[in-house]
């Protein structure tokens, strides 16, 4: 089912134009200073469709700097991308979660070392229908009670979660079990990755989840921050209380600020790219990754994610430089 919505929010339009202007100027500067960049070759990237928009933006801008480098980006998912990455079939993988043990093992077997570079944040947003006037905030324990595997078939009404909430059915919406978003949410909420109740409406397309929650007053769903931000008129985000006052007091609403400063925990998640050691020995890849880290702040915001702090990007650059030196010594 394809839902085509008709209205462009003015906020978004403003964002787009603002972003475009800023980037144009930044791109132009880059081009002048980098006119001499005489690089060529192919850079093959694959992996998460969540990270894809950032990497697509990078590839697009990098063409201005080094027009002879062919950067291609696929969307076979974090799992599919990691498999190719560990076999050395691609240079860089987009990942919406960390590399897991078996993938790391496979890379080792193929004599590949790799470096993990966080490039931006996403805030998983718990949302309800705007007419829902009872859920003003929710705690982690309550979210766990709703989503844990044993809730299947037993937690079916709102008043089972908090007695003062109405005796109405609760309808759940969430990403499909193959997505990194699902993995991260279950890890953070249930405590175990890939484990939750199965009787919820699942879709790989977050727009479908938005559509579901925005048309069902008894709904509760979760998805990426950008999908909430684009649909604020149809959804209401629920502040989440992690009951840890050192990390933002009380319930915290997801926003660009709270995700960036880490108070929207534990549902802010980092998005990564991984670079392998054989790729990091090639000048065009080194240039591209540095370009990526230099521009991640502005470009990730432009496509709907949340930038990390400047120091964090600086740290990643140093980490990458070290990795490149090791790779060249090999």
């Amino acid at each position: 089912m394809i839902f085509i919505r008709s209205k462009i929010s003015t906020l978004h339009a403003a964002c787009l134009i603002g972003g475009a202007l800023m980037l144009n100027s930044c791109g132009d500067q880059k081009r002048e200073s980098a006119n001499e960049l005489d690089l060529s070759g192919n850079i093959q990237i694959d992996g998460s469709s969540t990270v894809y928009p950032i990497t697509e933006a990078m590839a697009e801008e990098f063409r201005m700097v080094a027009p002879d480098v062919r950067v291609t980006v696929g969307v076979s998912g974090t799992g599919g991308g990691m498999k190719k990455f560990s076999r050395g079939e691609i240079d860089i993988v987009n990942a919406s979660r960390e590399i897991n043990a078996s993938e790391g093992e496979l890379a080792k077997e193929n004599n590949l070392r790799f470096v993990e570079l966080p490039v931006a944040y996403d805030g998983l947003t718990v949302a309800v229908h705007p007419e829902n006037d009872w859920v003003r905030e929710i705690t982690l324990a309550e979210l766990k009670k709703i989503w844990e595997p044993s809730a299947q078939g037993t937690i079916t009404h709102w008043n089972q979660i908090r007695p003062e909430w109405p005796n109405e059915e609760i309808h759940l919406y969430g990403p499909g079990v193959e997505s990194g978003t699902y993995d991260y949410f279950t890890e953070a909420i249930v405590g175990e990755s890939h484990s939750s109740r199965g009787d919820y409406t699942a879709s790989e397309d977050d727009n479908v989840l938005v559509q579901g929650v925005s048309t069902d007053p008894n709904a509760l769903g979760f998805f990426g921050f950008a999908y909430y931000e684009e649909n604020q008129d149809k959804l209401r985000a629920v502040p989440v209380d992690d009951q840890n006052d050192s990390n933002g007091k009380g319930a915290v609403l997801p926003s660009r600020q709270t995700v960036k400063d880490g108070t929207y925990a534990p549902l802010s998640r980092p998005l990564f790219v991984y670079v392998n050691s054989s790729a990091a020995a090639r000048p065009e890849v080194i240039e591209f990754v540095n370009f990526y880290l230099d521009n991640a702040a502005i470009l990730s915001e432009e496509v709907g994610y949340i930038q990390m702090t400047e120091e964090q990007y600086q740290e990643q650059k140093e980490k990458f430089e070290e990795f490149v030196q090791q790779a060249s010594q090999q």
Partner: protein, 285 residues
């Protein structure tokens, strides 16, 4: 009510029901098309067709996507048509009606119903990894050829079956060999049906995204493929990608890309109808 009146009423009722069924599908399709046209038509211009993909919805285009789709289409046709038609001719004209033949027949019919993602996995292992073709156009076209082969084989057989036996017998009576009969009598008479099958199956191939994503077709490709070993993307992948973006402007792009994809499909179907019409005029018994 007499029996006759009752029967007449039933007749009318069924007619009304049939009419409803006919229009139900058409109306849903019309609503869908109107929605897409309303959304996407304004976005559709020359720049959209000639630009590279971009993170800025207003600047993004589908050049590499439609070029990839055309490459895939032509290569799939070159691979699947000769194989499928030849297999159909063999099974219908030469194959002995043994248990082996009926076993093959059941399996080919079953293959026509296998979900496309399964073909993607097969293509990944066989073409991409074993034959080391990588995520190239050739690997994609071979995978889609497997996908549409059963359809071509089945429609070819049906078309050949529909050629009157008397025609073959007349040809044999004049001393023609089996191959001469097939080449000069049966195939020309069956061409209309075979063509329809081929074009419908290619229309299916044009709309596939899942098996191509599995074999490693990309989403961002900043160059138009120049040869069969190049990497590629296709329209359905680009559409899928845009539809799942949070920003509204990408959904409008998706609508515009859907219009282009629909145009390609309608063009194919138009060619099928035309070829069929021309062939039917030519064949006179």
């Amino acid at each position: 009510m007499t029996n006759a009146q009752l029967n007449r009423f039933k007749d009318k009722a069924f007619q009304a029901f049939g009419l409803f069924c006919t229009f139900f599908g058409l109306i849903v399709l019309a609503i869908f098309l109107l929605d897409i046209l309303k959304e996407g038509l304004a976005r559709l211009d020359w720049d959209f067709l000639t630009s590279l993909p971009s993170r800025r919805a207003a600047r993004a285009g589908i050049l590499t996507a439609w070029a990839g789709t055309l490459w895939i289409l032509v290569m799939t046709a070159l691979i699947a048509i000769p194989l499928g038609v030849a297999a159909g001719i063999y099974l219908e004209e030469y194959g002995k009606k043994t248990r082996m033949a009926s076993f093959l027949e059941i399996n080919i019919a079953n293959l026509a119903g296998v979900p496309s993602i399964i073909y993607g996995l097969l293509g990944l292992e066989l073409f991409v990894r074993q034959l080391q073709l990588g995520g190239s156009l050739l690997a994609g076209a071979l995978t889609l050829s497997l996908l549409v082969l059963p359809i071509i084989i089945v429609t070819t057989r049906e078309a050949i079956k529909a050629v009157p036996k008397s025609l073959r017998e007349a040809s044999f009576a004049l001393g023609a060999s089996k191959w001469q009969t097939i080449r000069m009598q049966v195939l020309p008479a069956a061409t209309g049906g075979i063509m329809t099958g081929i074009i419908l199956s290619l229309s299916r191939a044009v709309g596939e995204a899942a098996p191509l994503i599995v074999i490693g077709a990309l989403a961002y490709v900043p160059f138009v493929p120049e040869g069969p070993m190049d990497e590629f993307t296709v329209l359905p992948i680009q559409i899928f990608n845009w539809v799942s973006r949070p920003q509204e402007a990408f959904l409008i792009n998706a609508a515009a890309a859907i219009i282009v994809l629909l145009c390609i499909t309608f063009m194919l179907n138009g060619i099928a109808v035309y070829l069929r019409y021309r062939q039917q005029k030519k064949v006179k018994w």
